[in-house]
């Protein structure tokens, strides 16, 4: 037996969630050729099918592009710091791709090792993720190489499957998912057929072995020569999490804020002395590959990539991690 729900019923649920003051984030068609995860304002605004992958990722629900860390007020010699209030709005991510949801438990490691990031954890606690299994993939998808797949449940509280004729199968994964759909589904004998994953593959075991020796290779320049250093790969990535901290405001009042940053920028590691450990773009590309496929796994036991392919999809010169890994594999060990 399975649990099913109709599309109109889901839209009614969304209406209810919005009425209850919850924030609902779902794929929205923002241009004929562009789908993006956006906060939805009405229940008919979002997509439940007909898209491969939004151009952004759901990480911004738990790790916003820009956030205040605290505010400061200066009056003469008196300085007051006003902590940014912890987030309190419940969030529901609907129809997330499994490759997006899978990144959240991966991100939990870095935001919690040794010291805990309070705002991140609070948003994680307030967020319920309902993923939508993939029926299709494109040439950039390679999730199965990373242990994922069209119906991967990592990071999801519930997973939806399109059964056609406006009906979705609901598989709850966690208590949060159960609570969200309690009393909203009906029993059925219909279950979703399993969908094959993308054909494109990277042999991550081979990559891991190659990276043991590849740091000093001169090929990095050839493999990454066309990179423009724009950082689009990082901003659209569900797992990239580097950030900058700066003060915004004047000497009397303002805030210390955190903004997304990217290792592809020349200033990212620039010392005050002028020395830059990663002064060449190829060194910055190398860092991105190493961070995802060597550093993060060594530190936290998980790859910092879910094979979503967004880095290549968003790249103005179609680079991204898979083309680099493929070039590396083609060269052999």
């Amino acid at each position: 037996m399975s649990q099913i729900i109709s599309q109109p019923a889901i839209r009614r649920l969304v209406k209810q969630w919005l009425r209850e003051g919850k924030r609902v984030v779902a794929p929205v068609q923002i241009r004929p050729d562009l789908v993006s995860y956006q906060p939805v304002r009405s229940a008919d605004q979002f997509l439940l099918d007909g898209f491969i992958r939004p151009l952004n990722s759901i990480k911004e629900v738990v790790f916003p592009r820009h956030e205040q860390l605290f505010q400061y007020r200066v009056r003469g010699k008196q300085i007051d710091l006003l902590p940014a209030p912890l987030p309190d709005i419940e969030r529901i991510v609907l129809a997330a791709r499994p490759c997006d949801a899978a990144a959240l438990p991966i991100l939990d490691h870095v935001f919690n090792w040794e010291s805990r990031d309070a705002a991140y954890n609070q948003r994680r606690k307030l967020t319920t993720v309902v993923a939508l299994a993939c029926m299709e993939h494109d040439a950039h998808c390679f999730c199965t190489s990373l242990g994922g797949g069209p119906d991967d449940t990592r990071g999801s509280d519930a997973l939806l499957f399109d059964l056609g004729d406006d009906t979705l199968e609901v598989r709850c994964v966690t208590d949060k998912g159960q609570n969200l759909f309690a009393g909203q589904t009906e029993s059925s004998t219909r279950t979703a057929p399993s969908v094959p994953g993308p054909e494109r593959q990277a042999d991550l075991q081979q990559v891991g072995q190659q990276l043991e020796q590849a740091f000093e290779r001169s090929d990095w320049a050839a493999w990454t020569n066309r990179c423009l250093g724009c950082g689009a790969c990082a901003f659209g990535c569900p797992a990239c999490h580097c950030f900058d901290m700066v003060d915004e405001g004047g000497p009397t009042c303002g805030a210390r804020v955190r903004n997304w940053d990217a290792c592809q920028f020349g200033q990212f590691t620039l010392h005050a002395s002028g020395h830059n450990p990663r002064s060449a773009q190829s060194q910055r590309q190398r860092q991105r590959i190493y961070h995802k496929f060597h550093v993060y796994p060594q530190k936290f036991g998980e790859l910092l990539c879910t094979g979503c392919g967004n880095c290549t999809r968003n790249c103005p010169v179609s680079l991204g991690v898979l083309p680099v890994l493929e070039a590396m594999q083609a060269e052999g060990a």
Binding site: A118, F215, E216, M245, D247, D261, S273, Q287, H291, K299
Partner: protein, 277 residues
């Protein structure tokens, strides 16, 4: 859960101009309870900030034996340090820390200590030097080689004289050729060459070497020639940092986050890391 990015407030007790573009600042927590609880180990760093300008990473250059205040030292270089340049007594700054690992002073007990520094790298040596002098009985001969481009660029100049007065402490000062003043009594030459000629007692010794990459590069072979093993040569990396707590993703050298597992490394450890610093 506390906000790990929100600093404590510290009051400026004193500002000393060290050179034309370097100042040292003594600060104390505004909150007395925080001041009483605060402990650090020499070699650790802090994130120091001026509200409206931003945060910068500096070594805590005072000794961990000194209570009620800490000191840091900076060169006027960018947005934050330009603003810090105007600091006066009673001003307030932000402080987060202490962060990172530290010099293994316990492991150095019974050894001869060699401190080698260049230019603005004196502050991260100074905390360890004072610590060693305050525990003088625990260590053997102490040699300090400190160089700068010009005589007037030496930081903590007055303290060099005070250190030289301690028993079995030798301070070797040097300036680059052309950087000497008429009354200069120290050596003229680059730090690696001066180190080589200084006949430093190198048996049973550890060296702490901090300075510009080029100085470190040419000093390491000299220390090897003197017989120091890679595991007895220490340095402190200065990778750019924002969070200081292993989250923001920019200070790593391969699998090592300099803010957490550093900034202090032995040459043996550094050789096992990718050259990403």
């Amino acid at each position: 859960m506390t906000n790990i990015y929100q600093p404590d407030l510290m009051e400026v007790l004193d500002v000393q101009q060290q050179t034309a573009d370097v100042k040292s600042v003594r600060v104390r927590f505004r909150d007395e309870a925080r001041s009483d609880d605060f402990h650090f180990r020499v070699g650790q760093f802090g994130m120091f900030s001026l509200f409206g300008y931003g945060e910068s990473t500096f070594n805590i250059c005072s000794s961990s034996n000194w209570k009620d205040f800490v000191e840091f030292c900076f060169r006027r270089t960018g947005r934050v340090t330009e603003a810090l340049w105007s600091l006066e007594k009673n001003d307030t700054i932000g402080f987060r820390g202490p962060y990172g690992n530290s010099y293994p002073m316990d492991k150095w007990v019974g050894k001869n200590l060699i401190f080698i520094g260049g230019g603005i790298a004196m502050p991260p040596l100074r905390c360890a030097i004072w610590y060693a002098l305050e525990n003088r009985g625990q260590f053997g001969d102490i040699t300090i080689v400190y160089g700068a481009r010009r005589a007037q660029d030496l930081v903590f100049r007055k303290e060099l004289d005070r250190w030289a007065e301690y028993d079995r402490v030798r301070v070797v000062r040097c300036v680059d050729p052309g950087g000497e003043t008429p009354d200069w009594t120290g050596e003229v030459g680059f730090v690696p060459a001066v180190t080589e000629q200084a006949q430093i007692p190198a048996d049973n010794a550890v060296a702490l070497v901090i300075g510009p990459p080029v100085m470190i590069k040419f000093t390491l072979p000299v220390l090897a020639k003197m017989g120091l093993a890679d595991r007895d040569i220490y340095t402190s990396l200065e990778n750019r940092m924002k969070c200081g707590v292993g989250k923001c993703g920019r200070c790593n050298c391969g699998p090592v986050y300099v803010c957490k597992e550093g900034p202090v490394f032995t040459l043996e450890q550094l050789k096992a890391l990718p050259s990403d610093y």
